[in-house]
Structure formats: C-alpha cells, structure tokens
Assembly symmetry: D2
C-alpha cells in the first residue's frame, strides 16, 4: 500500500509568504505530508514555526544542513525537500539535498544566477533525482488546454504572441516602509540577483509563452526601467520578442502598474485563429477566429486529457470553489479543537453553517414544494 | 503542542463525487487528517477506496456503525465524522456519531426531511458537540465582505433581493444514461427527498440570501416544474419572495438552464446602494450606488476582518491560484513516488517545470538586463 | 427621384428628454427631415424650441391641432407625425393625425389606457396609414439575430425565459426634487396611467420577450411595490410568467435598483441551448449549450439578413462608434458656424483633431517605418 | 435664425465604406445637411450615388474641381467639404477647397505623405478656414473624461502607457479575393502611402495616446512585419515608446490578429493610479489605484463638462442606443415611402412595433397591476 511522500521544507517560517502557498499546494491532494523543516536560520524561530504547523518539534531544524544530515539517518526520513527561501538561498540547499539523495522542489527563479543553475543541472543529471521548479502558472487546466490546442494545430502556424505581467504593489517605495519583507528582499540585488521585476515576474511570462506555444525566444529588445527613486533593481520592462519559428511578440512585466493585481495574461495569434487566457479569470480560455468566438471552460464539452488530468473541481464549478469549501472545514476544525481543549471558539471560528441552516433549508424546501403543488400559491415560512 | 484533528468519513468511496471535495477541503490547511472511513457499505469496496486514499487498511470499515464503535475504543481514534452520502443517509450516521461523542460535519441538505432535522437538533443540543453543514458558498471571502458591508449599513435598508442558481446539467434525462450516478440519486425521491432542484441547489440560494442579508424569508410563491419527461422531481423553480423587513425578492433555481454551469449569483438592493456577487468570478464584489460603481477584491484596499480571515491566497492573486500551484506539487509527488518505486512516470506525471525551465528563465533575465543596460538594443538568446 | 420623408413632431420642446432621441433616430440615415412641430402647448415655447432646432419658424405651431390643419394645406406638408409627449397626450394627436391622412410614429406606451389603444387600432385599420411604436429595444441587430436563431430552431423548444429591466434613478423621491420633469410625470397617475415602472419599462421587457421568442404570455403573477414613500405608482415589480407553449419565466422591472442604469437583459433557455443578451453591451449575443459557449457579434461570421439589414456600423466596430464619429462632425460644424458668423468658437467646440494631428500622425508613420526598415532600431520623432 | 451647415462630399459613392459613416456622423445632430457631392470620379456613378442619397441631381458632380467651382457660384452653395477618398486623394481636394473658401473635414491619415501635410498646414493657416481630421476615437465621452482626469492630476505623473490596436480582417490575402475594395487600396502603396497597418490604425493608437495623456512620443523602436505573403505593406507592428516626460510605453497595431475586430484600447499608469479604456465597450472608463477599482460611465455621478458635452444618450443608456432607436425610424420611414408610392413594403421594412404591440403592452400592464392589487395572485392575459 502506498504511503504519502514525506516533505521537508527550507524556509517558510513565520512572516514568510510563499512558504504557506507551497504547504497548501503540497497538502491539497493528500499525497504528501510535511514531516520536517528548517523554517528559519534561527533554530528557535524554526522550532516555533514548525510547532505552529504541527510538525514534530524534534524535526524542526536550525539549518538545512542539519535537516539533511538528520533526516538521512532516519528510516522514516523525508523523501523530498521544498526550497522556499529568497533566490540567493536556493542553490546551496538544493545541491546538498540532491547530493544526499533527496528529491527537490524549488521556488523560482531557480538560482541566484546562471552559473549556479548550470551547476545544479549537472548535479541533477548525475544523481538522477527529481527536481521541480514552481512555475505555477503553467499548472492551470486552461493553460494545458491552450498548449494542447496549439500542438494539434487549432490556430495554425503562430505569428504573434503578446504576454503581459502587470502588478502594482511596488508602485511606491514599499521596501522602505519597514513592514514589507517581500518588498525588501525582492528589490535587493544581494538577495534577488541582477533583476527585479524581470526576474520575479518576467520569468513567469517568458515561461508561460514558451510553455503554451512550444516556441523559443531567439532575440529580444528590452527597455527596462526603475521608476521608484532609490530602488536598486528594475521595476518595469517593455520588450520586443522574436521567436524561433519567425513569430514576433511583446512581453511586458511591471510592478508599478498601479491598481493591477496579478494581471498575467497571454494572447497567441496564428494563421487560423487566436487563443487568449488571463490568470485573473483562469477558468476561461478564449478561442477566436474570423468566423467567431468560443470560450472553453473546465467541465464543458470535450477537453484534452491534460486539462482534465489537472482539474480537480467538479464540472461546472469555478476555480476557488475548493478554498471556499475549505473555509467551512477549517473553521469547523478550529471549533472542534477548542471543544477538545475546553476553550471557547471565537466568532470567526464559529462562522460555518449549522443545524439551524439545515432546518431552515428544509423548511424552505417544504414551503416551495407546497406552493408549487398548489399551482404557485403564496405559502408562509416559519 | 497542537495535533491535527482526526477525521473519519462516511461515504465518498470510488465513483462518488462530493467526497473528494470534502477531503481536499479538509486537507488544504493542514489542520485535519483523514484517519479512517466507512467509504462504502460494501466492506471490500470501502477498503479498496481507503487504500487508494492511503488510509490505514485496518481503519477502512464496512459500515458507519462499525467505524463509530471501533474508533471509540482507540486512544488515537477519530475526533470528528464527515458525512458525504446521499441525503437519505445523513441522519443515521450523524445521530450515532453524536451519541458516541464525535463531532460531525455533514453535506447538505442536512437530512432527508424536516422531522429528522429537528430530531438531530435536539441531539446536538444535548451532546453539545460541534455540528457543521457544508453550505460552502458562504465560505467565500467576498460573501463575508458582502455580509459585513450590509451589517454596517453600507447599502442602507434592504428593499430587493434577487438570487439565482441556474445549472444546465440535467437539461436532458442524464439519470437514464446509465453512466451518471449523481443524476440518478439526485432525481430519485427515495434518496433525495421531496425536492429535486429546489433541495439540491435552491437551498444554497436561500442560504446565501439569508446569510448575506441577515434577513429571513417569511413568504414565498413558487412555480416549480419538471421539464424532462419521466423525471420524478422538480428540475426548475421560479419564486417570488418576501422578507421579514418588508423586502421582496426573486429566487430561481434550475437544472435545465442549458449551457449554464454553476451560475449562483445574488444582487441585493438597498436604499443607499447595491451589492452584486457571482460565484463564477468569486473574487469580485460589486458595489453600486447612484454615484458610481466600485469593485472589491481580496487583497485590495481595506476589507473586513471576516474577509481577510477567510482568504488564504496571497494578495492580488485570484481564486484558483492554489490549485494550479498544487498541480505542480501533485505531479512532482507522483513522479517522486515512481522514482522511489523504481517505475517510469507517465508524461502527465512529468508535466511540471524542471531545471531546464530554470536555466531558460535565467538566460532570459540575463538577455533582458543586458539589452536594458544597452539602452534597449536587440540581444540574442541562446 | 426619392425625397426625404417629412416629419412633424408633437412634444419634444426645450427641457424634454425623449424628443431629442427621436430626432436623432430620425436623422441618422438621412431618410427623414424634421419640417415642423408642435413642440410645446405654449406657442411661444414651441417657436423657441423649433428655432433652436432650425425648423422654419412659420412651421412651429402652438398646438398639434394647428399643425395638422396647417400642414394639410401645404403642398410640401409633412408626411408623418412623431408623438413624443407623456402618455396621456398620445391618443388625441395620433387620432387626429391619422384622420387627416398623416402617418404616425409614437412613443410607448401607446396610449393612456387600453380603451384608447383599441380605438386607435380601429382608426389605423380604417385609414390604412402606417403606425409605428418606438419599442426601441427590438431594434438591435443582435436582438434580431436572437429572434432569427430561435425561429430556425437553434435552441429547440423554449422552456424558460428570464427578462429583467432594472433601473435605479427613482430609488429616491426624485419627483419631489423640483428639477426632474421626467420623474414628475412618470410617477404621476394623471399623466402616466395606472402603472409606474410596470408601464414605463416593464412593457419593454414584455415586448422584448415576446419579440425574441415569438411566444405569448398567457398568465402572470405580479408582486408590485411602491418603495419610495409618498409615490403614487409602483416603482418595482417581480413577476412569474407562463407562456402559450408551456414555457415559464420571470420578469422583473424596477426603478429602485440603486446603481443600475438601464440593465435590460434577457435569457432564453430551450431544450437544445440558450441565448443571452444584455442591452448594456448590445453588440454581443451569447449562445450556450452543454457543449460550449459562443458569442455572436455584428460583422463576425455569418449572421441573419435581419441582423445585417439593421446594422449600419462597419464590421468589427462596436455600437457607439457612430456617436463618437458624430462628435467630431458636430464640433466641427459648430466651429464652422462660428467662423461664418465671425464669432470665436469655445474650447468645447474646438475639441476635434486638426492638421497638427495629421502631421503628427505622418511623423509617427515615418519614424515607425524607418525603425522597422532598420530591423527595429530606435528612431527619434520630431 | 441659424441654418444648417451645408456639406459637400468628395468620395463616398456606391461601394465605398467610410463615406456612409461620415454622412451618418454629419446627420445625427441635425446641424449639417448634405447638399452636394463628387461621389465618384465617374460622373455617371457620382450622379447615381447622389440620387440614392437624395441629393439634388444637379449638384452631383463628376469631379471635386467641378463641385468646388460650381458651388462657389451659388448663393446657397456648400459651406464645407468632407473628404472621404483613399489617402492619395486627400491633398488635392483639400487644397482646392480651402483656396476657394470652403472649410474642410477630412478622413485620416491627413495626406499621402508628410510633405503634402505640411503644405496643407500652410494653406490652412493662410486661409484661416476650419480644418478637421476624423480621428474619431477621441470623440468618445469616456476618452474626454480620461483626458480630463489626467489633466487634473487624478493619476499623478504618468509612467507607462500601453496602447493597442489589434484587428484581424487582413490575416489572409483579402486584397486578392477580388471582392474587398477596402483591402485592395489599404494594402496598395500607391494609394495608402509608405505604411499599411501603421498608417491605417497605428496612427489612431498614437493619436489616442497623445490626446488622452497630453504627452508627446519622443522616440520609438518599431518591429514592423508583413505576415501575409505577397502583401506590399506592413500588416503588423510592435513598438517600444518613450515620451517627453520620461514615461515609457508600448504600442502595437495589427491587421493579422485573427479573431480580433477593432480592439483599440489604452492603459495609462501614473504614480497615483491608472486609467483603462477599451473601444469595444466604450461607455466604461476604469480607474484603478492600489486602494480600489472604480468604473466611470456616462450619466453616472459627476463627470467633466467635456464628457457631458460630447454625450447625447440619455443617462444610463449605453452607446448604441441611438442606432437601435434609428432602426425603428428608418424601417418606419421606408414603409411610409412605400405607402406614399403605393408600393408594398418588404418584411424587413415592416420590422417595427405596431399598434398591436401597444395594445399588448397595455394588456400586460393591466394584468400586472390587477395581480399586484390582489396581493400577487395569478391573472390571465388575453
């Protein structure tokens, strides 16, 4: 019988951002369990973070080196390491994990610079272990569908690609507010590398364009800018692109697009038609030709195996359904915990439907059916 | 140190639908673990389903009665039971679980009929255990925000409420296709109760309207219809509503709205303004007045504590982000498993970004920064 | 050789609202000319209004009776009368015009009450003159397309119709503001008749539903309300409908839907698919089935003759294009007039593109082509 | 008393495209009348075209030279000339018209090349006559509003501008179909000039960007392409822009964006917020900041004088309302004409609401009010 894959985490302690996303992503399907972590480089903080995550305190380590060495000794040791630290702290733990026999899943960009990345590739090839990079935007079912449609020729030979990634959260000097750790390290060349917006989100746009189309960028002309005074890295870039099949394109990424949240989107124009996808409404894939405009959605009509394989929501439901459902479960779980501990749950924890909602629902049903049977007469509810 | 809440499940075996949703919802936050289940009334099927879910085979039971009795004996026994069977199988396991000291989280509608529901309420009150009903649509952050805004008077006294729940999946006799178990039991009065669409989705609409507004329906006039020949329950209803503050409204629910997926939406009009929310783009809450039109989103501007407490996506990301992220993790996990087992992963399992994407990204960064430094000159990529 | 149809107008003087719309609608295609009018029941006001509209002062009459009698005597007299007065002033001028040989085009609702309307029908039939009622929402190309698609069976037998007409402009006592003549007469039973919102906009919804589907309402259950204290007519209605083919439906119309502008929309569900249209984005007709979702637009793919016959915008342009174009013309015309009169045009009148924009455009073209020919090098603009 | 401005037209005969748009734009407000034209360079075709437009046959000229000379002699001669010929035929008639004392309104681009345009400017300045260029996209009320908001500092200092103009109608060799005159001359360097898409639509994008922002482009880097084999001019361009205040931007225009119709749109990002406008839904102007997202619309809340001055639709109605209204009038006018001529109107001409719709509406009103008065009971309709 199969057992869950055991995961250790590097980074992601209290106050971090992307660590929580990785943990949810690992948990959703019940195929992995978080068993240990070096959540912080301060041992005490690492332990506190781990305990809050209900990780065994003995497996909350003060450094990734310690974690790798200790977990290697255990018969129930971790199988894989998730690396969720800032960019400059990807290479060392990835290298050591691989060299000690652990699979690795790592946040992007993969390393601080190209030299490190190439070394890492050599190590991966030598160890034959699994390595995944969380370019998460290629994980959407409708992105898979787009790639599938292009591969099978639905829009013909590709001519033009426009990929955009506007954000607005760095349109002011957030890194000097003293309260935004994300802004601090992402604008710091010592931790982020040579690029700001280009590295942080431009790479997502590049990855999405090449993933969907199967093409490669061969040339680019980039107008990079730092709009916020005193900032050390670019916060905006406009680029012209050329691709290996002769297609041309535009890529722009920005963190100063005031009022935009996370506007990643792509338009691919071919000889026979076009595909359009926006991350903010990820369940819709638009297919346009001179003759008409259709919208693909998970669960509607026939989709590719790849789209179906990567969709876990019931047909006809939107992305996000699962999180709303999870809120009921989480609030219930926290209330149960308080009950077990003999404590009083908060109003927030108690915010889930109860037996009274159930009774109300059945009263509604009874009234509606009674009214319907009377050929639509008015009926009172209790 | 806290431990995870231990969950047992009744129903949700192979071929079922809503069980998987409950399991994901329970798993997302890492605060619960599925430790046992009576996944099917056939012991063999229950065990097979449990093993596929990586549940200890000794804790895969052939009946809910067995599960409750056995788990009660264990020191590490379950804390709570999730009931995900068809409607006619809610009451018995809920009652027995509560009477044996287990908390209960149950799919909706709560019971087969009102009599059962009222009995259940008595039991819950006597046992003082937690009971949650998964009216999941009230779990959305922007639904919480709407309730909050109304409570604080943002739209003034409520005058009119329009709540709709159109679906199209039963616009033909799907229950006679022989391949759609969902359609079969949901149109079967013996398993669903007195109502079809009204019970299955009308109750969600009713619950959403009362949750958001804080009002109660006092009277209704329902025109219920069975459009598909031979169907035994209603598949559509149009209703006029009256509320306890004098407001009026419309509720319609349908399973024959051809081409609609899961179009739950609500509009609430007050003396000073209106709120509109659609489940298909759940991250947007529209606020309209005679003076203008604003859109609220998680992570943008100041939201209520309730909206923030129930949102786990990073600011500026849409609902669905976590599932796309989870696809990377799941595919990686399955590839790792194959690696551990010495097997070859499938193309589907291998569909996640690798070191090559990482190198590509850094090549892109290097080219863009080089071009930018040269005042936007064309630069080649490898 | 054809000449323009000569139009006289009853009502529509200074301060009126719908008269201007009728005049624009009559002018757009150059097939009619406004030659005379009884723009007000005060002769002086009628003349002032007419002069502002550049109507021959001798043909600006103090009453519709005078206009009809005088125009009848002329060899170049009007051919048709447009009636744009409040409801209670439709019947008398329509009757007299018809009885004196003039065609009539009349704002809706056709008369103050049913008795008048039936008398009018008798007169029309006797005189064999043309009579048009401006239920303008059936004039949209995509409404014609919807009717055509239903007639040819594209969505099968119709089951359910939802038609809505929410407005918000009467959500407060605008009729008592002293500055809103529209609100005054539309809420006044002496001028509007027995109904407020139901007559003013409910009739549009009813007309649209019957026009598109070809069905007739056979029964209705209406919950009408007056929300604003002191108002004498309904300002909101929720209705259940039944149609002559067994279809059912919902109609609601409201003038207290705070924040809604003119939200007329319709959804028609049939056995094989559904059509959806919204007046606020009138160029899109949505066609949905269980298999997919397509959007029809003027100028895209093959449309019905009726849609094409009623579309005058160049393919690929949206509704509204012509008005924007007309702003250039109007502002130019007013500037020319000032030039002829030796006066100085205002900044508003001068707001149209000039030779400088033309030169700028050609400089842009020259720079772009030069850059393109140099394989995308940077080029300066003057 | 004012009289209408008298307009003569050069070009726009049968089979032409933009001429009809100009005529509608001139007619809408009833401030201009078309009195003469040189609709074609073939005298016979010019006369036939003019007669179809109900222009006096004696004033349908065989050349613009003839028109200018003849009209100059008349006491009721034209005031202004509208030039709607292909690009290479703008300069000569504009020059001669101006030199003979006529105001000019001209389609864009203003001339075949820059030399002509500069000469024309000299003539305009010398004659002191009015000259308008129909860069029509700056005519929208919400474009005026955007310019106003930027001028008053609503989004702060501008940093980034993205302006796009994708069309798809030339994604294949339409110019060689033998049936598309528009495609023929617009891809012909002898009639269009040195540019294809860049001149035809790129200039609109450039004009819109400079109009809204008040900035000037100082530098550009353009990657121009001819995708369709055998085509003689560019059909696509991607450009990087720099502006005189230091802002940067992207402009792309294309006629091979398969499935796009007329997707002109602009996004302007400033230090304090952003504005977004799309020509396909021109009634909405989006204003976004880090704090929130608002939508401006004609007739909602307080708008600038410029927006109000250029909006003629009743508040709360969308663009396009007037055309739908005009369809009722036009079809009525054609039916009246047939009646006058003793002919039978076609079904298309008869497609307008009649007295029966009026009676139906009042029956509906009567039934609804009766039902409402009976506290929402079912009522039959005739």
């Amino acid at each position: 019988m199969a057992r869950k894959i055991r995961l250790g985490m590097v980074g992601g302690g209290q106050g971090a951002f992307i660590g929580a996303v990785h943990r949810i992503a690992a948990a959703i399907d019940g195929e992995m369990e978080l068993v240990c972590g070096a959540f912080s480089s301060t041992p005490q903080k690492s332990k506190a973070s781990g305990i809050a995550l209900m990780v065994d305190p003995d497996r909350c380590y003060g450094s990734f080196e310690e974690m790798i060495l200790q977990e290697k000794k255990r018969t129930d040791g971790m199988d894989a390491v998730a690396i969720v630290t800032p960019n400059h702290m990807h290479f060392a733990p990835a290298k050591m994990a691989l060299q000690n026999g652990f699979h690795v899943i790592c946040d992007k960009p993969v390393c601080f610079n190209l030299t490190e990345a190439k070394q890492l590739k050599t190590i991966i090839e030598k160890t034959k272990l699994c390595f995944a990079l969380t370019h998460n935007y290629t994980g959407y079912p409708m992105v898979k569908e787009a790639r599938h449609l292009i591969k099978k020729g639905a829009i013909g030979n590709i001519r033009k690609i426009i990929v955009e990634y506007p954000q607005g959260w760095l349109s002011f000097a957030a890194e000097r507010s003293g309260t935004n750790k994300q802004a601090e390290w992402r604008t710091d060349p010592k931790r982020s590398g040579i690029a700001g917006a280009v590295g942080d989100i431009g790479t997502h746009a590049e990855n999405l364009a090449e993933y969907i189309t199967g093409l490669k960028i061969t040339q680019l002309c980039a107008d990079t800018t730092t709009y916020v005074t005193g900032r050390l890295l670019d916060d905006d870039a406009n680029m012209l692109l050329r691709f290996n099949n002769g297609a041309k394109g535009i890529l722009h990424c920005s963190q100063i697009c005031n009022g935009d949240q996370n506007g990643l989107n792509i338009r691919v124009y071919g000889e026979k038609g076009a595909l359009q996808w926006r991350q903010e409404t990820p369940q819709y894939l638009h297919h346009k030709t001179i003759e008409g405009h259709s919208i693909y959605q998970p669960g509607v009509g026939k989709l590719s195996d790849a789209a179906n394989y990567n969709s876990r929501i019931p047909f006809g439901h939107p992305e996000g359904y699962l999180e709303a459902f999870a809120n009921i479960y989480r609030n219930f779980a926290r209330t149960v915990r308080k009950s077990i501990d003999g404590k009083k749950p908060t109003a927030m924890e108690l915010d889930f439907p109860t037996i009274d909602d159930g009774i109300r629902g059945l009263q509604f049903v009874a009234a509606a059916i009674k009214s319907g049977k009377a050929n639509a007469k008015w009926v009172k509810m209790p």
